[in-house]
Symmetry: C2
Subunit: 255 residues, 2 copies
Amino acid sequence: MSITLTAVPHLPLVKPGDDIAEMILAATSNAGIDIHDGDIFVLAQKIVSKAEGRLANLSDITPSAQAIDLANKTGKDARLVELVLSESNEVLRYRTNVLIVEHKLGFVCANAGIDHSNVKGLHGNPDDWMLLLPKDPDASAATIRRKIEKFTHKRIGVMIIDSHGRAWRNGTLGTVIGLSGMPGLVDLRGKPDLFGFKLKITQVAAGDELAAGASLLMGQADEGTPVVHVRGFPYPLREGSLKELIRPENEDMFR
Amino acid sequence: MSITLTAVPHLPLVKPGDDIAEMILAATSNAGIDIHDGDIFVLAQKIVSKAEGRLANLSDITPSAQAIDLANKTGKDARLVELVLSESNEVLRYRTNVLIVEHKLGFVCANAGIDHSNVKGLHGNPDDWMLLLPKDPDASAATIRRKIEKFTHKRIGVMIIDSHGRAWRNGTLGTVIGLSGMPGLVDLRGKPDLFGFKLKITQVAAGDELAAGASLLMGQADEGTPVVHVRGFPYPLREGSLKELIRPENEDMFR
């Protein structure tokens, strides 16, 4: 049993308005990557956000008193902090250079996933252009999936991932922010092990496990390989949602 | 660029005293898996613990007052709680059926990683036999690595992983508890992105990303495929340690 993760080569730089599904179909075809039933495409968040034009310019933003206060406490640009707050449900922690929030999408991450845009050819100071997360990443994944499925007549899954820090351990991990056509969580409850003991570890974050593995091929330093093709995901595909992976606040002991 | 993860087939059930490196060499040879420079073997913790005889019998354990108190609060067996405490630096959180600790090895996990042993042929009630984590998983990984390298004359990496829960999100993720000959953390600080912005995401938990991906092939319900062979890990191998991946308590905002 094998899983093969392949960085889709030669994907063009993504611009607002681009059709990601078409770009993936063209790039996989050029690279000789056949699409089979059960395959999954893992997409870096930034290309989906760019295609959807999820851009904001800091010079358009007037920070609130709360944003100015948090900017003073973190050493961050108050306009960026305002943007982070506008994308968040709640601030969980802050310190110098660090701002951890619950994003409106429900997950916990730094800076609400906002980063420099890296979009060429926009007016003004390029440092002022920021890229927000897709508004509804499950829906973005579903749209891309449907187009690829329609063209190929294959049943696939699509995930959108970002690099998230975590509690207790150093370094970022590729982490699901949206998915379609595949499980986020796989429930193994009640399966007996080899000797008939009921398993106590019950739910595997299969989507996040795949996100982490695929992230290895995306690197961090450029936009070279923001799409990874996956063959051999070992769990059955089904409809799924980011929501499976989010622990409700009242069940979370580490807020 | 591709990563291929392959579950090593037909590994025999591991017993105390077994030589894991020899078993991997035999199983890969039988399966026609060549070992190349740069390959990595990812091992489920339970086979390493079994080979090292890291077993404890609950009937040998007399719980302390603290263990009895925590057992009442969590609904767990007081002897198991005593065993968890003996493997831990600190209890972080507890509630019914949940006991989250800092393991003596430095990472945060549930129940100090202790589980039913699933070792056949031991005396007494099989429910009473528990499996502890390896005493020094970096050293265990190094021993297995050296043997495989000596036999193959190839430069490889070895990781030992376990399934860990996490803050904020549902489900477990395959997570490094020990490694040798490869990086846990990869530092990308200072690398400019496509447009010359300095990267702010700086450190990638490459070891944990690979652990999560490899964990997909191990499943949870049996011991069928506790070893995964990895080809195509995209970062250079070097000496490494679990310690890279542990966030020091004074830098952790979510204790």
